[in-house]
Amino acid sequence: MKFNQTLVASAIALSAGGAFALASSNAIADCAISVDTAEISVLGNEFPAIQAIVGAAEGCSTDGVTFASNLTKEHREIQVAALTADPSEYTVAVVANSTLVTLMNDGLVRPLNALIDEHAPDLPDNLKITVGDDVMAIAFMANAQHLMYRQDILEQAGVEVPTSYEEVLAAAAAIKEAGLIEYPLTGTYKSGWNLAEEFVNMLMGFGGDMFMDGSAEPNLDSDEAKAALAMMKSLTEFMNPDFLTFDSTIAAAEFEQGKAAMMNMWGSRAGSVLDDEGAAEGVVENIGFASAPTVGGGDVPASTLWWDGFTIATNTSDENAVASFQAMVSSVSDEVANANADAAVWLMAGYEPTQAAEGVLATASAGAQPYPMLPYIGLMHTALGNELVEFLQGSESAEQALADTEAAYRAAAEEAGFL
């Protein structure tokens, strides 16, 4: 895994308290749509940052240009079908690392190079998601799971803010021993997508790889994978026994209600964790954010970096594409970012990070790896989410769970034409 120096350079700028750095100007075209009649319709995930972006883009609608949006947690399930139709049901799909490849596999989103040249020539390079020579998406925010902790509880237990998962375990043991909280840890361990994501995070921390180099062959029979599972198992021993039903909503609620002292949680939840809704007394003012911990003596945080961005559908008219692009790109602005500063870690150059962004920025600057953008990663993610469960329940060995995952993945990948 080789990265060029941009990451390091931007990471330094971040830790210095700056924004995701790029020298270029932020002069993005104002909301002026150059076609008379067009239909813009947006499909995307539902959380405050995306609502802010899409809300801003909606302001571009005119008499001739209509705007509709469908923001839903189930967006992944409908996006392929909705964009395969010709003309497609949506002109814009808001995607992340993992969902972009699925759309690209079938050629459902169009390269944006010409649209950028013509309508947004000043767009900074760090917002462009390029694959080969084509710009396939415009990113506007970053996300990562990172450590959220209760400063007061850690102090009472006499421990420092942990920087590695080994320290997290020690801190959890100290908290439990001191009788402060029964289940000091919580996390997004719900069987399925969430659980698989936690495994990917941990595997990254150990420096492991899910696939043989450059192919779709699985590579889970490794010491790193076993170590990652063993660490997850140790962590779950400090969690509420229902952990396999905990998604980010439930885990965040546990934390806000003071039933857990530490969790590895999505940066995009930071804003809602910090607000005063749903929190028990004395929780909010004691919350701290830090980089995702490292693990096994590694120096890379056990987390993956994500971006969210927008794409334009292939199967829509050029007028719709132009209008959609202009509306969406106009909302990728410093004003939108700073007006919703708590909602996300924005990638726009003029964004001024708030406390809610600290964790993601720290994780990125500590060198966390992006979630792999591979066409077959979704199949692996699914197999992991289903097959690791029995290991965490204690009814199966790590070797067996990993072998099962490989077998389930292999069957699915053969069917999908990757193996």
């Binding site: 990265f3 992944r76 699925t102 450059g214 026994p241 039903t245 066409p375 199949l379 069957a411 034409g417």
Partner: protein, 340 residues
């Protein structure tokens, strides 16, 4: 009715069934026999906010050309049916030949997703059916003996679980059985065990889902039996009373035989419904402990990379399962019909 009239009469629904039921099933069968064309993979550099990296991706044009050539994908015969994620012939025979004991073989088979789901589906079906029949019948008898002013209210209240959308019903129960919910806390208090959690262990999750299933389906059985009770001839009951039959004897020798065809009907419908159990698994976030055949189909289709062949194969296997399940009941009915 003359044949012509009969055909004209059923033609509209016949055509609708052909279009909306038969053809989709044929399409599902065809899809289950195919797998996708091989994907042409290329490596190129991709860049984003976190830097650049060499990544593998699908060569869209080459893959599109393959898809244009073979739009259905590659013919795979029953390959998808027998692979590890379905009937898993290879894995099952390996588990058999490598077994150290029968229990070891069962363990090996239960490790395969299809069989794991099948076992839960069948357990759910066979445990809930007798409860639904018995409870539905008991409720119908009880309500039937109420004063008529009370009946309306009681019938409405009894039907509520059936009226509530399954997903909502299971979500409500999910929150109630949470360790902090009213049922969860009460159980912890009763069993004096603060660690007790209905969501953590497979056995308790199964019991919870089956209980939910009974709660949800009993009203259907109740309302059918209750309607049936209204048609039990009063004269027969009266003559039984004159003959000195007790309340239990009247129920056993008059009411139950009279309602027997309804029992078969309720049984058929509930078996079919139960075999397709799905919502409670989603509602209870229970996929770690319990999966069903319908849940596997959903899981294949709700991912980023959708597996239509795989989902099709599980659907066909589910249809076959329903047919096997219903065969004895249908055969019994047919035999009675013949002898009658």
């Amino acid at each position: 009715m003359p044949h012509r009239t009969f055909w004209l009469f059923i033609a509209p629904s016949g055509i609708a069934m052909l279009l909306f039921i038969a053809l989709p099933i044929v399409s599902v069968i065809v899809q289950s026999l195919h797998i996708e064309n091989e994907k042409v993979l290329i490596v190129s550099e991709s860049c984003g906010p976190f830097g650049c990296k060499e990544t593998t991706r699908v060569d869209e044009e080459a893959s599109a050309a393959l898809n244009a050539e073979r739009p259905l994908g590659r013919f795979n015969g029953i390959g998808t049916y027998t692979n590890r994620n379905h009937l898993a012939f290879e894995e099952v025979s390996a588990a058999w030949s490598g077994r150290s004991s029968f229990a070891d073989f069962v363990d090996g088979v239960m490790n395969l997703p299809f069989y794991k789901a099948l076992v839960f589906t069948l357990t759910y079906t066979f445990v809930s059916t007798p409860f639904v029949l018995a409870l539905g019948f008991t409720l119908a008898l009880a309500v039937n003996s109420l004063h008529r002013w009370l009946k309306g209210v009681v019938i409405f209240a009894t039907l509520l679980p059936f009226i509530i959308t399954p997903l909502i019903g299971s979500l409500v129960l999910f929150w109630m059985i949470d360790a902090d919910g009213i049922i969860g806390k009460t159980l912890q208090f009763i069993f004096d065990n603060p660690e007790l959690s209905l969501k953590a262990s497979p056995a308790l999750t199964w019991i919870t889902i089956i209980t939910y299933g009974i709660w949800h389906s009993t009203p259907f059985a109740f309302i059918v039996f209750y309607a049936g009770l209204q048609t039990v001839p009063g004269e027969t009951l009266e003559s039984a009373m004159i003959d000195g039959a007790s309340r239990w004897e009247r129920t056993r020798y008059v009411v139950i035989p009279y309602l027997a065809p309804l029992v078969v009907f309720v049984c058929l419908i509930h078996l079919m419904d139960a075999f397709r159990v799905f919502e409670p698994i989603v509602g209870f976030n229970a996929s770690a402990n319990a999966t069903s055949l319908s849940w596997i189909i959903y899981n294949d289709l709700s991912q980023e990379v959708q597996l239509f062949g795989s989902a099709g194969a599980t659907s066909v296997l589910t249809i076959i399962g329903v047919m096997i399940l219903l065969a004895p009941v249908v055969w019994l009915t047919w035999r009675d019909y013949r002898s009658a």
